[in-house]
Amino acid sequence: MAQQRQGSLPSDTTLHRDTGFERSAAAGTLPAVETEQLPPQVSSPAGDAFRRFRKNGAAMLSLSVILILVFMAAFAHFMHTANPLGIEYGNLDSNPSPQHWFGTDGLGRDQYSRLIYGLRVPLIVGILGTAVTTIIGSLIGVMAAYAGGFVDTILSRFTDLIFAFPAFLLALLSVSLFGQALDPYFGGAGRVILLTVVFAAVGWPFLMRFVRSLALSLKEQQFVEAARTSGTSSWRILVRHLLPNMYGLILVQAGFIVVFFVYNEAVLSILGLGVQPPNPDLGVLLFNGSERLGFNPWEVIFPSIFITIIILAFTFLGDGVRDAVDPRGNK
């Protein structure tokens, strides 16, 4: 596109109606800028961000790691080496070996198989919970900012109310209250659903405040005013002009929320409120391993490594998205 335009520029400038600087500006500086700084494609802001992201090694590595972990969790059924619930009494607390890659736990269960099944819970709770909480937070935030006045006051105070509860304690409370009620219906999945819903329900106030403050400054931009003066409906301004201009920064925050959820899910499990035994879960594995730290440190080391990898990967992914959407903040 740009090529075609550069080629046609000189002839077009002669057709240009006005005289003066604008013409020389169009003929003189535009091609220079395009050949030297812009990539040779039509550069849409989203396309530019994507290109910058692809050049960021750490972010691309994180994305690959996350995709691999998601793949392992999703297809754990085909990748396990032993039944994760299968007990092997003759082989308790064993070290890593060709049969049991990550060793076995105190009941002789295969740690590798338990681990890849255990990945499912933090990933589902982290990613799904974040998706839901991000949508809730963004919509409430952008509506509060755009509507302003009374609506803003109501929504902001409601957010403050939710925010005032320590999110972790609220999650702990709901899980201990409703956890057992769900178990008969959904079995092991009940806790996962509950955790996802609870985290989604308590995680959004932080994002709502973030989106609200972004939208407050964005709505003062003239293109929003211009949209209003050309008769655009409020809903359309929200979803077409305000939210798309914040998507990058929202994604960055979402990356950090995933980390927060994964971390808290593990802590809940360590407290015995997450996924119930014998079902595997990273946090549960870590908790069980910590009891046997004295004679088999591997039982702590492997789950810890995986939790660390998940948290680091999402953190670097968030950083990468930020650098991609806001290159000025970089260096």
Binding site: R5, S8, D12, H16, E22, A26, P45, A226, T229, G231
Partner: protein, 363 residues
């Protein structure tokens, strides 16, 4: 292309000749802001009219109520804190704002609001009245292509398909003098210079064949050479499209080049209004007079000095009673500090609000 618009107009103009020949009639418009610090009377009783094909320049310094007047016509003042406290805006006979206060039966003042519904305003905005803004760098959504931004406005108001809308977008970009318009439809705002973006804004504004174009400081953010081109473009296109123009600016030079009539605003009042020549050569209000003497002119002698207006504009939160210019006025009298003078005719179509206007002087 304009058939849909015409039908729409016929629908919405049942009393077409209610305001005579005037396309736009603003009467005694009052827009106040009720802030925590107090009431800001941004526009207090402004009246003017605009005929088809005419260009009205509204001149005044920052905070004189120019932009609030424009946004009131569009009915886009955020409420709260803003509030229309009275007056009416008739656009082709349809009351965009019509607010009267009458003593009710129980003795309390009753607010009667006969303004058009919001749904009607949404079709007016962008369709019949368009607006151009000061800063072309932020007036376009950075994430949408220029073609899309024009086409969306066209689709919204002309009720046509995507294809026609894009054809119209191309036609408009070409009309505002953007080279290789067809290819540039797919470009994003950051690929245009400031002057080019203002051309795009003009293309969007005129794409729906509006009857009225409100330009709020359209050249303030541009280089002087680009300013002249943009003004040329606005002059040419508004006559080609038959649009009336309200040109809001603090730059008397811009007004001199474009306007048929001028209204000078100060502290929320129109203090003087008249034909272009009335204002530039027969100014009677001391403010207009001093404003003209404070800017350089080509016919000045080299020894002539520019005379600044002493003092500063009044605090809009604590307006003194009487004429707001009294504190800076060399012709001030006792009555000026007590009572606001009415906007009285002093010539054909020339009105000034002053108790003690400047006499014709030998110049």
């Amino acid at each position: 292309m304009s058939q849909a618009t015409e039908e729409h107009r016929a629908q919405h103009t049942p009393e077409a000749d209610r305001n005579g020949d005037h396309l736009l009639l603003v009467e005694n418009l009052r827009t106040y802001f009720y802030t925590r610090a107090g009431v800001v009377k941004a526009v207090q009783g402004v009246s003017f009219h605009l005929d088809k094909g005419e260009t009205l320049g509204i001149v005044g310094e920052s905070g004189s109520g120019k932009s609030v007047t424009a946004m009131s016509i569009m009915r886009l003042i955020p409420q709260p804190p803003g509030r229309y406290d009275g007056g009416c805006v008739l656009f082709r006979g349809v009351p965009l704002i019509d607010i009267r206060e009458q003593p009710g039966r129980d003795g309390r003042t009753q607010r009667i609001d006969r303004s058009a519904p919001e749904s009607h305003m949404r079709s007016i905005r962008g369709g019949d009245i368009s607006m151009i803004f000061q800063d072309p760098m932020t007036s376009l959504n950075p994430l949408l292509t220029v073609g899309k931004q024009i086409a969306e406005t066209v689709q919204e108001h002309m009720h046509c398909g995507r294809k026609e809308a894009y054809d119209r977008a191309f036609e408009m970009l070409d009309k505002v003098g953007i080279p290789s318009a067809r290819a540039r439809l797919k470009d994003y705002p950051h690929q245009f210079s400031g002057g080019m973006r203002q051309r795009v804004m003009i293309a969007i504004a005129l794409s729906t064949n509006p009857d009225l174009l409100i330009a709020d400081e359209p050249t303030t953010a541009l280089d002087v050479t680009i300013q002249a081109q943009i003004l040329d473009l606005m002059r040419g296109l508004s006559s080609e499209f038959g649009s009336s123009v309200i040109l809001i600016t603090h730059d008397l030079g811009v007004v001199a080049g474009l306007a048929d009539r001028v209204a000078v605003m100060y502290a929320g009042y129109i203090v003087e209004t008249g034909k272009l020549d009335d204002i530039f050569y027969r100014a009677q209000h001391p403010y207009t007079h001093m404003l003209l003497r404070s800017i350089p002119r080509l016919d000045m002698d080299r020894e002539d000095r520019l005379i600044p207006i002493p003092g500063s504009p009044p605090d809009m939160l604590r307006l003194p009673p009487g004429c707001p210019f009294a504190a800076r006025c060399p012709n001030v009298r006792e009555i000026c500090r007590q009572q606001m003078p009415p906007l009285d005719p002093i010539g054909a179509g020339h009105l000034a609000a002053c108790w003690n206007p400047v006499k014709e002087e030998a110049a």
